[in-house]
Each structure stands twice: as C-alpha cells, then as structure tokens.
Symmetry: C2
Subunit: 214 residues, 2 copies
Amino acid sequence: MELYTYFRSSAAYRVRIALNLKGAKADYRYVHLVKDGGQQHKPGYLAVNPQGLVPALVDHGQVLTQSLAIIEYLEETHPQPPLLPKDPLGRARVRALAQVVACDIHPLNNSRLLKYLERELHADETARNTWYRHWVVEGFTALEKLLAGNSRTGKFCHGDQPTLADICLVPQVFNAKRFEIDLAPFPAIRRIHDHCLTLKAFTDATPEKQADAG
Amino acid sequence: MELYTYFRSSAAYRVRIALNLKGAKADYRYVHLVKDGGQQHKPGYLAVNPQGLVPALVDHGQVLTQSLAIIEYLEETHPQPPLLPKDPLGRARVRALAQVVACDIHPLNNSRLLKYLERELHADETARNTWYRHWVVEGFTALEKLLAGNSRTGKFCHGDQPTLADICLVPQVFNAKRFEIDLAPFPAIRRIHDHCLTLKAFTDATPEKQADAG
C-alpha cells in the first residue's frame, strides 16, 4: 500500500495511527500542503486524488480517499486488532464519537477554510483564532459529555482497547494544543489522549516524528 | 425506534431516506431548529442528545447520534436491502463519496456556522451566500469527477442500486437548489439525483413532505 500524507494533516495522522495499530505496511508519499503553493494542487497529485486533499491510500491499484472510509477499509481487510467493537450499538457509539471530530470540528478548522476566512472575509489573525477555538471548544464540550457520562468509556473512548474514536481524538487534541486551547474543562478527553500516547502506534504517528516534518 | 428529526436538516433527511430504503419503522419526534430560539438547545432535547444536533435515533433505549453512524447501524441491524456493496474497495468508494458530502461540504454550510459568520464576523447576506456556494461548488466539482470518471458509477453513485452515497447526495442537491446554485456543470450529479427521486423511499423523505414542514 502507499499512503499520501502530510505530517500536519490531522486526517492523514488518523490513517497513520490506524496503519500502525493494524501493523499494516504502507510506503509514505509526502505531499507538502504549503510548499510550492501547495503540492496537493499540482497535476501530479490531482491525478491521484482529484479532490486535492490528503490522505489518499493506494491498494490493489485503487485510490482510496477520505480518512474514515480508508480506516473502515483497513478494518475490513486487516481485521486484527479490531478498531470497532463487535456489537452494533457499540460500533454506532464509536463511529459517532469519531464523527463528532471528523464532521463537526475538523472541517471547520482546516487550512483551506482558514484561508477563505482570511482572503474573502478579511478576518484577521485574532478573528481566525477565535473562530478556531470556538468550534474546538463547542465540539470538545459535546465530546466530554459523551465520554464522561457513559459507562462504556474506559481507558480509551470505548472500553479498554483503542478504536476509531481514539484515532480521531488524538490528532484533534494535537491541533487544539497547537492553537493553545485550554483543555482544563475536558478531563476525560485529556485522560484518554494521554493514555493513547502510551502506545507506540500513536506516538510513531505524531506529526513531529514524520520524515516530512519541519 | 424513534427518530428525532427536523424537516430541513440535511443530516436528518439522510436518515429518513435510509429508514425508508430499509423499510424500517421509526416514530418521528420533531425538533424545530428555528422556533422557540431553537428547540435543540432546550433541556428536553439536550437530555436526548447533549450535542444539541439532529438527528438522533433511539433504539433499545440507547440514543444514537451522527447521521452516518446511524445509517451504518441500520445497515448492520437491517441488512436488506444493502446500502453498501459487498467488496471492501467498493465499500470504501461509497463511504468516501458519502464523506465528500458529510465531511467536506455539509459542515461548512449548516445553520450554526452561517449564524457565526453573521454574528461574529459580520458577514452580510451576500457574503454568506457566496461562502455557501463556494463550498458546494468546490465539493460538487470533486464529486462530479469521482462520479463521471469512474466505471463503477451506474444509475446511482455506485452501480444500479442506491447506497449510502446517494443518501448523502440527494439532500445536498436539495440544499444547493435552495441556494440557487447552478447545477449545469454537474451532469452526473444531476442525473443520479433525478434517478433517486424516481424512488418512493427518496421522495417520501423530502423536507416538503414532512409533517413539521412549513
């Protein structure tokens, strides 16, 4: 397999964690989202993913896009260790926790959006940072309630094994820290994040450990 | 089952289509997102879904949130007719098409976001409509390429049976029409949308047919 990745992309970070947890091998292809005006916009990468977003995974000559779809694919093709529980209600809970991050927080904070705020709506850095923090705090407030108030929460978001929910949580916490968001109101999120980072699968996937970091 | 829904919510619309396709019964509970300052913010609904978003599905006393997680749950508990193909590469493609809508278009255009643009960034109606159209056109341009350029596209987004991808596509086209976006550059999207609306499962789920419409 080949993974098109960028060290700081939170969606690529999710797939790196999933590959590590599965022990699945993928050669990394680096797409720098800032250099050269954004290598994701160049014909070379658009031929791989016409949407011009990372990550993309190539397997059996097919290009897979969208981080959650890629991770579900890895779950189906590399079932061990499972990243979703067995029971449908548990699976729905894990997917919902993942989607709070992937649908309700992350899309509002990615770089193409922040660029639009700056260029088209003339939002200055303060306004952009306020925007960023607003959506993280709103999303984390919901996530904290879903985690802290639920008996199925364990050492990880769901029980005592890492799942798709943890895979989404950790990169979002990384972003929150980068934007200096106060995480004190989110003890369950902090506890689970710190526990994830005791696992090599998570620490090997962090942005600063990537060959394209810097 | 009980579905907490709002006629114009595109995420609730997805779940209504999925329930109809599955022939699964759910009693509808209406949450008006505008009346009373937004019934989703009231204690009654927050006790159901602390995130204050629709839809939510209640089954076996458990509350399920996030439309894609709910639909995957319905797929696992009501396997017929399938909303995902059998092969992992096909499933990954369908999920990716769905996520282009659910992660890359819809989150940028929902009402809480448009309110923030208005109240905090003082974006006027013209600027907000430009924002809305920008993200729909960008997302549909990607989706059109993924659909028109792929031999697995059939009468529907993937083959000749409706899938999760069509379930996400149709409500997004409804929104695009509401904002008077020119769909001429997207013939594959238009063709598939129109084909979906030959099915009662899709037409029964449209906003205007809901008991809370108006």
